[in-house]
Symmetry: C2
Subunit: 299 residues, 2 copies
């Protein structure tokens, strides 16, 4: 036995199993300075696990979700994150404003705003809801969303919480979000005090207007979050879980990151992946792969 | 035995199995005057079956596909349709212009134009291709499509064939069509002699700009096809086969038909469904259901 390191197996990316193409950036590496990991990417971890895992890997920011925060206790979660010196790049999520009970939805959203404020989150991500109680009336559902947000936005603004309107990929229009493009989300955000838009690569990469709308959103200081993951094919049986590890798919993430930076965004770059194969991998390996792919495909 | 009709089972819609909500319009019913059935909707039928089935049901127009037309023989197919007095509402399809061999793709598209001319089709539907040989370079793939269409369009125009640029739902952007919105398709069509756009409800219903772009396309006399089917959930494992029977899903088809009509479109309204359950049903029942749903949900 000596103190010298033993020969180690070269790391492999997950979930692809391919050999890592670049060395894993280590804590303190400036290339990690804006990297954030969304909790759903490593969903087997509670808030405390996530905080400790990000500290080990040198990741300075986390995206949190309401359910695991509630499980940990809001105050404890806020304290762990603060004590670790991490930023909360986003809080997921408010929204779902198109159901039958508008008042209950707004109450729940106000609670989400309060939680985001206590966590010091950079934004509260709003997934606004699908057709919901509106049957086939898509314009009606969109009007309902605008109406509810007009009521919620001052409450959020008073508490210093930025609402992040997230356009979802049009394949989610019927069931999850009637906000379908960045331009549409920005049109709405501009009517709301303090609100902005979430630029999620998975949802917007295909949009012929994406570059123009990123410029517009940046000029208005309304980009509140930038999220990465990749569009991989084939889509899985549940398309909600089709988000791929950056670099495994078809999206030019570097082009989007460059556009967002050129528009003046200086916030975190958050990796949010819903994918059964990623969830089945070791979370530390997931985070190490994310750090490598961030360098390789995003920066 | 008497000549009186025996009691008949009330018809049921396919594939839902629900009782028909309205009587089946009979041949000569003016509400069928613009209804067209796309061959892929009843894909077990060859061209001759399709022609005869539409005659039985009083459907005045058909959308044809290259493969079954080749199987029947182009001249024979053209003669059957002509002799039956049917219109060819569309011919599917040209496109796929983003692969490695541009010259071969253009040759194949010129053949498709020739076939569309012989069939007297109202348009040649263009599914332009996905990222193809362009890796992650989406703007590059889009430029390639524009470049190839600029070469093809004069050839089509000289033969009286209208190219119908079809924006596909953004979930097909990576692998099937980098034209993703009606506005984008129209921007391109307006640069091409005689070209137009295909307004397919399935692909465009979610678009916040759809009403505005339909108006714009109509004003420019560039709507060359209007297709209906429905967005049903959950999406199937192969999302290519997720198109539902009109009325089974979430799309306000009447609103889209009204918009297209208001924009000055007077052509056929073609039902194009890719759906394993529809394909498993009796084709005559499929056509009868289509006729009923057309009255109930489209007109």
């Amino acid at each position: 036995m000596t103190g010298a390191p033993t020969a180690r197996t070269a790391p492999r990316d997950v979930p692809s199993g391919r050999p890592a193409a670049v060395p894993t950036p280590q804590p303190g590496d400036p290339r990690l300075a804006r990297l954030a990991v969304n909790q759903m990417t490593v969903r087997s971890w509670g808030v405390r696990d996530l905080v400790q895992g990000c500290l080990r890997a040198g990741i300075p920011a986390v995206g949190l979700w309401r359910e695991p925060v509630a499980e940990a206790g809001l105050s404890a979660a806020a304290r762990w994150v603060r004590d670790a010196g991490l930023r909360v790049s986003s809080y997921c999520r408010g929204g779902f404003l198109t159901g039958a009970d508008r008042a209950a939805a707004l109450d729940d959203n106000r609670r989400a705003v309060d939680e985001a404020a206590e966590l010091g989150a950079a934004c509260l991500v709003m997934v606004v809801g699908g057709l919901g109680a509106h049957g086939r009336d898509l314009p009606g559902a969109r009007a309902r969303v605008a109406d509810a947000l007009a009521e919620l936005a001052p409450y959020a603004a008073e508490r210093g919480v930025r609402l992040g309107l997230e356009p979802l990929h049009p394949m989610f229009c019927a069931d999850r979000a009637v906000l379908s493009t960045l331009g549409q989300a920005l049109d709405l955000a501009e009517t709301l005090p303090g609100a902005g838009v979430v630029v999620d690569a998975y949802h917007v990469w295909w949009d012929p207007q994406v570059a123009e709308q990123i410029r517009r959103a940046g000029a208005a200081h309304r980009i509140v979050s930038f999220q990465t993951c990749d569009w991989t094919l084939p889509l899985p049986a549940d398309v909600l879980e089709g988000r791929g590890m950056p670099g495994d798919g078809h999206v030019d993430l570097r082009a989007l990151r460059t556009a967002v930076d050129a528009a003046g965004y200086t916030g975190d770059i958050e990796v949010e992946i819903f994918n059964a194969d990623v969830w089945a991998a070791d979370p530390d390996d997931v985070i190490a792969t994310i750090a490598r792919r961030h360098v390789q495909h995003v920066l």
